[in-house]
Symmetry: C2
Subunit: 198 residues, 2 copies
């Protein structure tokens, strides 16, 4: 019923996570009401992430530079590595202002059900980095796949570096809870209550 | 904390109705994971609405052509005009498959509180179209501004065309609506618009 140009935009908004038909319609109609300038800026911003956004070659975090802001920050403790499944977990953690080490982004979790194997994840570089590290904090979500991944990493790391301190963030997170949905207090507690693995 | 290119995209998503910081972040990160092709298509779709989308010169509905699909449809009754505040009301109404007349989009409502006057709306062309019409159905929302606008239009139309049939869509309990969940306005309407049974 909508004109083609609007239908096309609705289809594109529908590709965003959690956006259904009604919401996509609402977004597209709002976009139709925006100024030409705003639409161009929006369009440029979309193109911009493909042009500028890459993964930090040290930790895998999203970055506009070859190395992300955190990895370039010499005031941080580079011997403490907080391992997460995605960049948005870093954003959530940084908001607590409780952590002064660095990060490592796996870009996913080992998942038997979805056929994601350790080889599909950013693990090799973690193993390299671990050679210089004093502590690796495993901060994957408190889900089945998150636990599997943590156990896998713990074993792998200890095989290579028997002396390495490997910890797991505390389960202040509710069972099944996703890291980036947790409030700052919960995350701060989860950090301070971390325990030695194995 | 996010790289600039991502922050920029988050800001643009935040301009959409009902999108807060967390949701905008989720959308931007999902966009970062899309293929270059998808992103270009998305960006083109945004530009496309500014390039192609206009208001039908007859009814004011959003359209890629000078006249919208409904106004060009000769199988519809062009003497019955259903007056709504925005194009999305047309989309909603068409899904019922119950209406075979045409539409008129006001592009807003008369609103004292927000300083929107009748002159700001698409009313002049409605007045022209009413000369040929048999019935004008006022279908603005059951809100204060919707009622004000309906009353204003009824008066205006009757002043110009004393013989014209001007109707108002019924207000009452929504389908499946429970009496004790309805607000007072809805209940008052449901009472005053009651009809004889059988």
């Amino acid at each position: 019923m909508y004109p083609n140009s609007l239908v096309k935009l609705i289809e594109n908004f529908r590709k965003l996570p959690g956006v259904g038909e009604k919401t996509a319609e609402r977004y597209a109609l709002a976009a139709a009401d925006m100024s030409e300038e705003s639409i161009h800026e929006f369009s440029e911003a979309l193109i911009g992430i493909k042009k500028n956004l890459k993964h930090c070659r040290i930790c895998g975090n999203l970055s506009d530079e070859d190395e992300c802001r955190i990895c370039r920050d010499t005031s941080r403790n580079h011997k403490q590595i907080f391992v997460v499944q995605s960049s948005k977990d870093i954003a959530a953690m940084e908001k607590t202002h409780e952590y002064r080490g660095v990060y490592h982004v796996l870009n996913g979790l080992v998942s038997a059900s979805r056929g994601i194997m350790p080889d599909d994840l950013n693990i090799d570089t973690l193993l390299d980095r671990a050679a210089e590290a004093e502590e690796i904090i495993l901060a994957t979500s408190a889900t089945m796949d998150g636990e599997t991944t943590a156990m896998y990493l713990d074993k792998l790391l200890k095989t290579h570096y028997p002396q390495l301190l490997v910890t797991r963030i505390a389960h202040g997170l509710p069972a099944g809870g996703l890291l980036d949905y947790a409030d700052e207090m919960t995350l701060a507690h989860a950090l301070s209550d971390r325990r030695r693995m194995g």
